[in-house]
Symmetry: C2
Subunit: 674 residues, 2 copies
């Protein structure tokens, strides 16, 4: 069983293992010249790609940088004819010499630890001054970094004066067009993915999730293997879980002793308010600390290439001055405002319509139960909620596909704007879909008992569904698929080291990890359940904590066993999600204030004047919002000691510049003015 | 009369006049070596300064840059014994050679127009590629820029290993301490100020305010003479006035035909809401355009020196690694939270107390008028408001001094944090002091007639007081002071060209302009009057427009005639004031929504349920706030075409770097990995 789980992970191919700082030469590929190199990245072309196109691509990848090539090492994976199965012959492994990788590290603006323990942008000129740089630099870069560099170099491999891809007269090229993007957009390039590293993955998984022990996650190791973007997600997941613990601890006695006493929840609501503001502010500081330690905090973003799907009429890009497809902005705006926005609004209407049906069903079932209460009608009481929770999940899924299609059709030039528009669409719908019913129960029906019940049902159902859909289903599918493949493999060889070709084939068949979007979305909704309404159902925090603990394990499992290794993504923060969580916490202030205003306890202070009660609640809410705003300004986003380190670096570079200029100018003879 | 106005302005001394691009050598000073230079900046030391200290300072200013000096030209102003008056002999004029100024321009990171019409950081290396660079660079820099450079070079003149200032064993120095700051903090240095340039000032003032014509201000010329900070203030003043015109135009018919019909103001309030959000967003874009044109948009801020008043125990600055006074942050925090905050709160309480007295007076007078209305009791009705307006102005002034003292005592290291703390203190108090009574009338007394009357009285009184205090009083004082001085001058010489010594003396006696703080504060309060409550008094916008038009003229007069020329201050935006105005516009949403909710028109829609009315108003207000927030995000702060220009510059520098590296690395022999 254990064997079946691990043997489809590629064996130690390359990459400095953190402790040893020395490259493992476990597997290697022979170069054209006969010398060997460590394969890092796999390129798979469609099996019917014309030979000229393949040959041209390989030549361009191998060409020297002066000649406009990528100067990487690339070899075809020898297609072994095994058991009559027809493998795709167009699979190539890419590697690079250490010298080339170091140059690439400078190109991508990698930050590494300097001798004085600060993080600095790596430059080949003073490479000896970086910590852990030994010999010729072998082992200085982690495997994930090497793979990121190779991906960057492949992405920025540009066409020169070829008019089209050899063999494909219709695949137009223009000077400066990214070759890989062109192959991708025409589906000739099936996939590019980095290889796993068996030994390191084994170590990582055993310290991460194999042993069920109470400890923090090995964030540095996760970052070392998967990159900063994913490590920040796991850091946030862990932080969020820890931050929920005080709430859960307070929630349990509330749940146990005040189950029917809705009055007491005002204290809990106040706690809620402070809590969700403070944790988000503190997370910003923690995330800045992590990003500093990992060298992504002051890293500059490179210029983004157009997305593979982007199309338009050839014109001059005003920024780069290069010829590239341009798509007029007003057309995009028209598509957004005349199609996407109405579609989203329609979906929101549909979602609210389904919600009203749910409440009708609910009322109908309740009526039946009140007419003649039996055990079965008691069970039936929960049926509408469960159905509604399932329908919500389905609608979310369907909408997600529609949103992706629409955002794609809007034809955004950059991947980042594409992502922002997609996130916005999905967030708004998910928010309405998941929380509209709760808002309706809380503020229109004003039924706290029903609110509590709906919250519990929604929370539990969506958690169970999520865990199944997200990790265990793909895991099970993966296992089933691998079993077939392995039976054959185990027959042919007994030792545990698989030949490279088989590993590549195994990894190529694994699912592709589509990024942290869905994982953050799930956390966002959980945060909503906890911050918006949990004061009426204090057990929510406990449930979310439990969910998060299993989430950490299932996400870890999924990253290590189910998916292809993703390219590491440098990230300095959780990006647009910070904003989304902050927006949620603002909404939480509003709902919690409203819930406090509706509590019988508070109402009893204003026995005769209902409108005065509302005025006071509104005044309090405005004060809280103002305080929240001030707090955001007062708490610095970056901890003082990191701020000092950053300023020192900046100061030093300024001083160095000044000194250099002084030296240069001291040679120039001085004249006084007449 | 005209002569008396203009002749205390220094005659053309130096400086490239914009049109001619050639240095005027009108007046000049003889150097030690006998060569002449154009005086730009005046340094005045106390008349009893010890000679060693003076000699040492002059030596350090003259020393070559390699030796740690400022490499500037400095000469004593020959003290002429005129009419028995004892002039201060320790007045020095500072200049520099063009070569030195160009090096300084690179030091301060000046942006100038490049050949391709983009703004780029000036470097001596490719000076020939900048527009308007001719010959040896004579006339390339404006006089204001030269003076700014000299100020920067003086400020960054640092002590080497001297333990104290020669002749003053108690004036301790340490390596890296700014010499000028030390002289300043010990009051040996009386003042440093740049000289006016008569010809240019004459041209500027005639195009700016001499001819009363309908046209925009000559912003580029203002920037050319006074620098970006002040030009942005005048640009904002003008923009704000223009933005008010639609409001004023709508306001007049409202005022004429609906004077007693309070119901109609809901439309005006809605207009108000949209208006104050939109104009602030558009201003950001306009200010970015101006800042780009003036080359301050992408300019980096230099490291700030400690303020002259900052004191502490010598220690190592963690950023620069230099020895300098350090003051523990917790002590400062203690001072802020245990002294300053309680003091501010006490003042706010006092202000509210005075307000309550005003309302008592108001009620008392009203009672008298109702008992037996005569003409005099009718006049008496306005007396409390006028008294209150005067008291408010006085309290604002007194508080201002207290705030400055306290902020100084808080011992902030940087001028910018000092300014921020001062602005915050003054803003909060001014806001409460000026608007509390209006809030009280509007929302506690709910008396729209009284609100209208108070608003009108406050607005008119404060405007009249401000114009008097701010421009005409100093102008009158200045004139009186100058008359005496001039009588003597006119006797001794008949031609209009004054000798340098007399000009310097005249300018040294002029008032010092203390920065744009008070000017912005005034605009901020006017913005408050217009945006918060003007829907009940539509004439407010008209009054503010009239005030602003005179303000432009009086401010222009004050800058050109009353004050010493200020050093130009590079600025990319209006800084903390943008935030203050935005905060005001958020408060305006709240007050306008509340005023709408209180209008009889809206109230009539909810005849039976007062609380439902409130709920709807609150819901609408929340929606508006959310929309405002979204709008801020959606409207880009920098116009697209400027964004493109900035990206292109960044892209070009990246490409250039890449090319340079490619060339460098192509020489290194390549090895493949074993």
């Amino acid at each position: 069983m254990y064997f079946a789980l691990t043997c489809y992970i590629a064996t130690g191919v390359c990459g400095a293992t953190q402790g040893e700082g020395k490259m493992q030469t476990g597997l290697s590929v022979s170069d054209q010249d006969g010398s060997t190199f460590a394969p890092l990245v796999v390129i798979e072309l469609a099996h019917d790609t014309k030979e000229e196109a393949v040959a041209w691509l390989l030549k361009r990848i191998r060409d020297k940088q002066q000649d406009g090539g990528a100067e990487l090492l690339v070899e075809q994976l020898s297609p072994e004819d095994q058991g009559g199965e027809k493998d795709n012959p167009n699979v190539y492994v890419v590697g690079a010499s250490w010298q080339r990788l170091l140059v690439g590290a400078e190109d991508v603006g990698l930050f590494k630890e300097f001798n004085d323990s600060t993080m600095r942008g790596f430059t080949c000129a003073n490479k000896e001054n970086f910590k852990e740089f030994q010999g010729d630099g072998d082992g200085f870069l982690s495997m994930a970094e090497c793979q990121y560099i190779i991906k960057h170099e492949l992405d920025t491999l540009r066409a020169k004066d070829e008019a089209h891809v050899p063999g494909y007269p219709k695949m137009k090229l223009y000077p400066g067009k990214s070759v890989i993007r062109r192959y991708q957009s025409k589906r000739i390039l099936v996939q590019v993915f980095p290889l796993h590293e068996k030994e390191e993955l084994k170590r990582l998984s055993s310290s991460w999730y194999k042993n069920f022990k109470l400890s923090f996650q090995p964030l540095d190791d996760i970052r070392h293997y998967f990159g900063e973007g994913l490590a920040l997600y796991f850091a946030f997941l862990e932080y969020f879980t820890m931050a929920l613990i005080p709430m859960a601890v307070i929630g349990i006695p509330y749940y146990l002793f005040d189950w029917e006493d809705y009055d007491k929840y005002t204290v809990f609501a106040c706690f809620n308010l402070v809590w969700c503001t403070v944790i988000l502010e503190l997370w910003k500081r923690l995330s800045a600390s992590l990003a500093y330690r990992w060298g992504t905090l002051s890293r500059k973003k490179a210029f983004e290439e157009p997305r593979p799907g982007f199309h338009g009429v050839l014109g001059l890009n005003p920024v780069t001055g290069r010829e590239e497809p341009l798509y007029p902005n007003f057309k995009r705006q028209l598509r957004i405002y005349l199609v996407s926005v109405p579609f989203v609004l329609l979906c929101l209407y549909l979602s609210l319509y389904v919600m009203m049906i749910y409440f009708q069903m609910e009322g109908w079932v309740l009526g039946m139960h009140d007419d003649g209460p039996t055990f079965w009608t008691g069970v039936l009481l929960f049926v509408p909620s469960v159905i509604y929770a399932v329908v919500i999940e389905i609608m979310n899924l369907v909408y997600r596909y529609a949103a992706e299609f629409l955002t794609n059709w809007e034809n955004h030039r950059l991947e980042s704007t594409f992502q922002n528009h997609l996130v916005l669409k999905v967030l708004v719908f998910n928010f309405i879909n998941c929380f509209a019913s709760l808002f309706y129960v809380a503020f229109v029906m004003q039924d706290m008992g029903l609110l509590r019940q709906s919250l519990a049902t929604l929370l539990i159902t969506s958690q169970i569904l999520n865990q199944i859909m997200e990790a265990f289903l793909p895991y099970w599918l993966q296992k089933r698929r691998n079993k077939k493949a392995h039976k054959r493999l185990i027959k042919t060889m007994a030792d545990r080291e698989l030949p490279l070709a088989d590993q590549v084939k195994l990894e190529a068949d694994m699912n592709t990890y589509l990024g942290t979007f869905d994982d953050y979305l799930e956390l966002f909704l959980l945060f909503g359940y906890v911050s918006l309404f949990s004061c009426v159902y204090p057990l929510a925090a406990v449930l979310v904590v439990l969910n998060n603990v299993t989430e950490i394990y299932s996400d870890a499992l999924k990253m290590c066993k189910v998916f292809k290794r993703p390219f590491s993504e440098p990230a300095a923060d959780i990006g647009v999600w910070q904003l989304a969580f902050e927006a949620m916490s603002v909404i939480a202030v509003v709902t919690n204030c409203a819930l406090i205003g509706m509590s019988p306890q508070v109402k009893s202070y204003f026995p005769e004047s209902h409108s005065q009660l509302i005025m006071w609640v509104v005044a309090g809410e405005h004060l809280l919002l103002a305080a929240k705003f001030v707090l955001t300004f007062v708490i610095p986003d970056i901890p003082k000691h990191i701020q000092i380190k950053l300023s020192r670096l900046e100061f030093e570079s300024l001083e160095a510049l000044k000194k250099r200029k002084m030296l240069e100018s001291s040679g120039i003879p001085k004249k006084t003015d007449k």
